[in-house]
Symmetry: C2
Subunit: 338 residues, 2 copies
């Protein structure tokens, strides 16, 4: 099955997350900030645990690279970058409770290891500490940054609510899905670049451009995620492939399939997506339908086109900015396998 | 039993919450703000529900009266005041989940009426909308207000974590309890007055004084709450009296009793507090022990002394401020029966 799908992934795979220096600075700053939070133990042990089990740190890297593009050195935007990562982790902790997910990054989630109350409170405290970090940011336009951050808090809740509503609803269109995902995951990513640009004191038009860059790669990133659930191997992905299918989740792939497929293929696809017990055979059959029907090809093209748009936005912003690192980071994201 | 305790409540009871004009302005502003939040229905219906079942609105009234004391008219501080009330309601929604409370203000809590996931998300969105309101505040020193607000978000989580830790711990002292309650409930009240003072552009010393006023009445308010659970009737309180006892909650009253009582009274008190099934007879017996041992009298005196200190603080601040309304409000709080 893997061989058939190779043509959908034409780019060579980069070995690991670039921008090692930025990642290390982020980890060190997270560790330094959290070293101040020891008691109450029942609150801060779980919070430190979840922040310590890793993650790609995509959002804070984007904040740093955007700020640097605008001329602000990394050390001046680290607080804002960590604020963004803390806020992202709040969403993970609370979403994992609501979605009954017991594993995150290969480790037990907080509510699985402790209990729900502990996870609720750890998530709440992550919001507070995130705002604290942001208030300590030393870039420009702090009120603007706080407002941008706040818009994201509200929208990410709206996105999660829509996601839960869609689980119950039979009438979700691809446009509904795109709106939901823009709020649930896209918003935090374009917030990351917007805050970086604001901190660097970019003019409003440039701030908007760099936010748009974030929105485009955020959307591309999510569709990639949906595709990887069918294209990757379990080993590459670090979680079971086909889990979206097994969970009957409405994703770009399933909604696009319902749009593109016809006749018997559509009928069989509906059956497979509704199957109570979807195992390896069903996943293999669904993959074939998705490949033959051009669904995965279509997704891959959309991802490429979104990244293309993101590169165009950077060209537009290029006049006064040093956007090479943002270009390189988007290239790495485009090629990721997990 | 009631008659014996009358001497502990020497002040005439005021018929209802004063500052009707402020309350109406707060309700109208909450309604106006929430009218913008309709969809997703699964998020905003529960959020509007919990904000609509009332409450004394003590915190936003304090913000308004403090701002007015500093010369800022009410309409200029309404956003900040509503922000404070929204944040307070976030704590109620999440605490009710953790404490398994099914009723709030005589109505089902969100997680009881909907489900836990809905309540988690409604609480999260309340934080976001609260910050949004605060960002729209038009008083002075917005960055200072945001920082004060943020400190309260973190501390209120710490207070709740300590409260849960104390449920499991046998070694809680009165000092531990006072520290916990200062964070869990006191902090939001002194935040309310601090933000009002900051919005009015008061000088730092006056801001600190008015925060201290808030801290004192906040502490007094909480000890009153603990006393009312033994002194009130169920009708007055709007919830069952003796519920703290039945829940084995460590409160000012129980911890003070363990300090003050001796010999057989102490032994019997411990037994009653640990009783699996505590009914009306046990409550009556405990009340008698608390009255005879001077515990309730001691609590009443502490409440009076804290309010006395709060009035002194207002005298100190009186030089350049119009603090009459803050004095009147503290007097009303001192006399409340529920």
């Amino acid at each position: 099955m893997k061989t058939e799908l190779q043509h959908l992934r034409p780019l060579p795979v980069l070995p690991e997350n670039p921008f090692q220096e930025e990642r290390e600075a982020i980890e060190a700053h997270i560790a330094e900030i959290l070293s101040r939070y020891r008691k109450p133990v029942s609150l801060y042990e779980p919070l430190r645990y979840i922040m310590g089990i890793g993650g790609k740190r995509i959002r804070p890297i984007l904040t740093i690279l955007t700020a640097e593009a605008g001329g602000l050195p990394m050390h001046k935007v680290l607080n804002a970058a960590v604020a963004v990562e803390l806020l992202h982790n709040f969403t993970l902790v609370h979403d994992d409770i609501m979605d009954h997910d017991l594993v995150r990054r290969g480790q037990p989630t907080i509510h699985a290891r402790w209990d729900e109350g502990t996870a609720i409170l750890a998530g709440d405290a992550l919001i507070g500490i995130a705002y604290r970090c942001l208030c300590d940011s030393c870039g420009e336009d702090l009120p603007g940054q706080v407002r941008t951050f706040t818009e994201a808090v509200v929208e990410v809740c709206e996105g999660q609510a829509l996601d839960k509503e869609f689980e119950e609803s039979g009438k979700v269109t691809l446009a509904d899905y795109e709106d939901m995902i823009a709020r649930k995951t896209g918003r935090l990513i374009c917030m990351s670049t917007r805050i970086g640009a604001m901190a660097a004191g970019c003019d409003p038009a440039t701030v908007d451009l760099l936010e748009r860059y974030g929105a485009l790669i955020g959307k591309a990133f999510q569709i990639q995620d949906d595709l990887l659930d069918y294209l990757s191997t379990t080993e590459e992905l670090g979680k079971n492939v086909g889990s979206d299918m097994a969970m009957h989740k409405k994703t770009f792939v399933t909604l696009k399939a319902l749009e593109l497929l016809q006749g018997d293929a559509l009928k069989r696809c509906r059956e497979l997506l509704a199957a109570r017990q979807a195992g390896a055979d069903e996943l293999r059959e669904l993959r074939t339908l998705l490949v033959d029907g051009g669904v995965l090809e279509d997704g891959r093209k959309l991802v490429d086109s979104l990244f293309g748009e993101a590169f165009d936005v950077l060209d537009e912003a290029d006049a006064g900015l040093k956007v090479e690192a943002l270009r390189a980071y988007a290239t790495w994201l485009l090629r990721r396998k997990s």
